[in-house]
């Protein structure tokens, strides 16, 4: 059984059929990319998977559990974590605190333990802090740990967001256009980083515009156009696919 199985998924917004009968599978350990022109339904597909939207019909099965009706926080607890196309950091919190918030699902201290500052929470807090700093070191953003997160440069914010998502120790990491707004050098670094994350045993599903990144790192690519899946396969095959060239690569 694949880690994530999407079966005949549909989403209609009024007259707009944003996701039309899309099926796809993500196997454990792979980097899978979903590409397509603007308005192809990529982000909608992501929101359907993560539970931010509920589908009109079809199913999303993650780790053998049907996700229908689950809220995003429940999906997150099952081991799926995500970043957002337009970066969403917690304003008013430092970069470190943002990353620490990602540790929420892996820690327990509740209201009373917090209010009475019970000793057993100290070790947990220290653990959260340590783990978060480790991740920030891995992503080379530890020097910004104590800066207000929304004051950081764009690329750094993206890295903070990714560290926060990784801190939930996900099985599956959803990256929504991680290269948006990055220059070529930063995009290449991002590619290395994503490969590094995969080596940690985390499966990755990404939606992306940037073809160079997708072609470099993906094991498999699904192409969407106007809500339909029009092609699926290895990067090399996708590059040769005449229909894909027509609707997408041809534009470049």
């Amino acid at each position: 059984m694949a880690l994530l199985e999407i079966h005949r998924l549909n989403k209609k917004f009024g007259g707009l059929h944003a996701v039309n009968n899309v099926s796809l599978t993500v196997k454990k350990g792979m980097i899978k990319a979903v590409i397509g022109p603007n308005g192809a339904g990529k982000t909608t597909l992501f929101n359907l998977i993560a539970g931010n939207l509920s589908p009109s019909s079809g199913s999303v099965v993650f780790r053998n559990h049907e996700l229908q009706g689950l809220k995003p926080y429940q999906v997150a607890r099952m081991g799926m974590s995500r970043t957002f196309q337009n970066i969403k950091l917690f304003s008013g919190m430092t970069a470190l605190e943002n990353v620490m918030a990602g540790r929420h699902v892996r820690s327990r201290a509740g209201f009373l333990a917090g209010m009475f500052n019970l000793p057993h929470t100290w070790r947990e807090e220290a653990g959260i802090r340590q783990k978060s700093m480790d991740l920030m070191k891995l992503l080379e953003i530890e020097e910004f740990a104590h800066k207000e997160s929304t004051s950081l440069a764009f690329g750094q914010q993206r890295a903070v967001e990714m560290a926060r998502a990784l801190n939930t120790e996900p099985e599956l990491l959803l990256l929504d256009e991680p290269a948006a707004g990055l220059n070529m050098k930063e995009t290449a670094e991002l590619g290395r980083l994503i490969t590094k994350i995969r080596e940690m045993g985390i499966t990755i599903l990404l939606v992306e515009h940037d073809m160079s990144l997708v072609m470099d790192i993906s094991d498999e690519i699904t192409v969407l156009s106007f809500g339909h899946k029009i092609a699926e396969g290895k990067p090399a095959a996708i590059q040769q696919n005449p229909e894909v060239i027509k609707i997408y690569l041809g534009e470049n």
Binding site: A50, F90, G92
Partner: protein, 368 residues
């Protein structure tokens, strides 16, 4: 970080003691009464500060929770239970020592709830009300949440005003003292009451509650839960995606703040010896919100400072008959010039913004 927090709390303790000594030396002990009352009101404001400033949820109904606490404490300790003394429940309560006996002016025996019992019942009732109203209401956001909580506050206000059980427009008076400690050798009787001789004692009771409340809430904000609350304020959708059950956290914070408000209501009612409908009024709720805003929203110390200062001035009658108008004005000025609280004020820039032709920049949403 921890040490800074503890130094702050110790500083507060020192200040509380110093002020008491000062009033003692200067013979101005009459200030203690208003300082005690301000302390209780500040307790409401501290709870509301966590709800508004950290979890990012507004409530224009907190006077309602204060009133639930105060009114139930008053009603249960003043309504005579002897007409029901044959019923099983009253007998069981009496047997368990949960009731106390009194005497009316003719020497007849009267039966009341023990203040401890009424205190626990009153606070539980407020917590339960917060739970029941919070589940549907906290699904709302922004203005809609403000309006819904305003509706809740109005309901409570009309209930206490209309019901004979709560004394209608007169409220409830002759509320007995609340004995916290008695019969321990070497210790005097410690009770919450407006008794002249207990002024110093009550000042310390109120302020120990404020200090304890401050410490608990500061701890909470520093904890995993506090981080979750602030992340909800930052971006609810993202907090959700990080596995934070936002609905549950908002609800728990709402209940926590209601407990703070109700506890303040119980204690202040015993201190004042009564409670009237104005305590449940909308203007009280607006006042609490205004003070949290002046204090800087996400700022426990700011809320506490402003809570004590403004309530003290108000209780001393500095604002005269314009009391409520002053708090309305404060709210407008804060929203215009210092939405981050007056501790972060940058007056000149704000003035320029406020009077420039463009209206785009002035505080578009409720959170930045």
């Amino acid at each position: 970080m921890n040490t800074k927090k503890n130094i702050g709390v110790l500083g507060l303790l020192g200040l509380v003691i110093m002020i008491q000594l000062l009033t003692h030396w200067t013979g101005t002990q009459y200030y203690l009464t208003q300082l005690t009352m301000s302390a209780y009101y500040s307790l409401v404001i501290l709870g509301l500060c966590v709800l508004m400033g950290y979890a990012g949820q507004i409530s224009l109904g907190h006077a309602g929770f204060f009133a639930i606490g105060g009114y139930l404490a008053a009603a249960l300790t003043t309504h005579d239970l002897t007409p029901y003394s044959n019923t099983l429940i009253i007998q069981v309560l009496n047997r368990c020592g949960l009731l106390i006996q009194g005497q009316d002016i003719y020497g007849d025996v009267l039966l009341y709830f023990n203040p401890w019992v009424s205190c626990i019942l009153a606070i539980s009732a407020a917590a339960l009300t917060a739970l029941v109203t919070g589940i549907p209401v906290l699904k709302l956001k922004g203005h809609y949440l403000a309006m819904a909580t305003l509706g809740f506050g109005t309901i409570i206000y009309r209930i206490v005003l209309a019901s004979a059980f709560f004394g209608e427009a007169d409220g409830i008076s002759d509320v007995p003292p609340f004995t916290l400690v008695s019969g321990i050798p070497g210790l005097p009787v410690i009770e919450v009451s407006g008794d002249f001789s207990g002024r110093v004692q009550n000042y310390y009771i109120a302020w120990s509650m404020v200090i304890a409340g401050t410490l608990l809430l500061l701890n909470l904000i520093d904890s995993r839960v506090g981080r979750a609350l602030r992340s909800i304020h930052g971006s609810e959708e993202t907090a959700d995606a990080m596995g934070i059950n936002t609905a549950r956290y908002k609800l728990k914070t709402f209940i926590l703040s209601a407990i703070f408000a109700a506890a303040a209501g119980v204690f202040l009612t015993h201190f004042n010896g009564g409670i009237g409908p104005s305590e449940a009024g909308i203007m009280k709720s607006v006042r609490y919100v205004a003070i949290v805003a002046v204090g800087g929203m996400a700022n426990i110390w700011g809320a506490l400072t402003m809570g004590v200062l403004l309530n003290f001035l108000s209780l001393r009658g500095i604002f005269g008959t314009y009391d409520d108008a002053v708090f309305g004005l404060i709210l407008i000025l804060i929203m215009l010039f210092a939405p981050e609280g007056i501790l972060s004020i940058r007056i000149r820039q704000r003035l320029r913004n406020a009077f420039s032709s463009s209206t785009s920049e002035i505080r578009g949403g409720e959170s930045s």
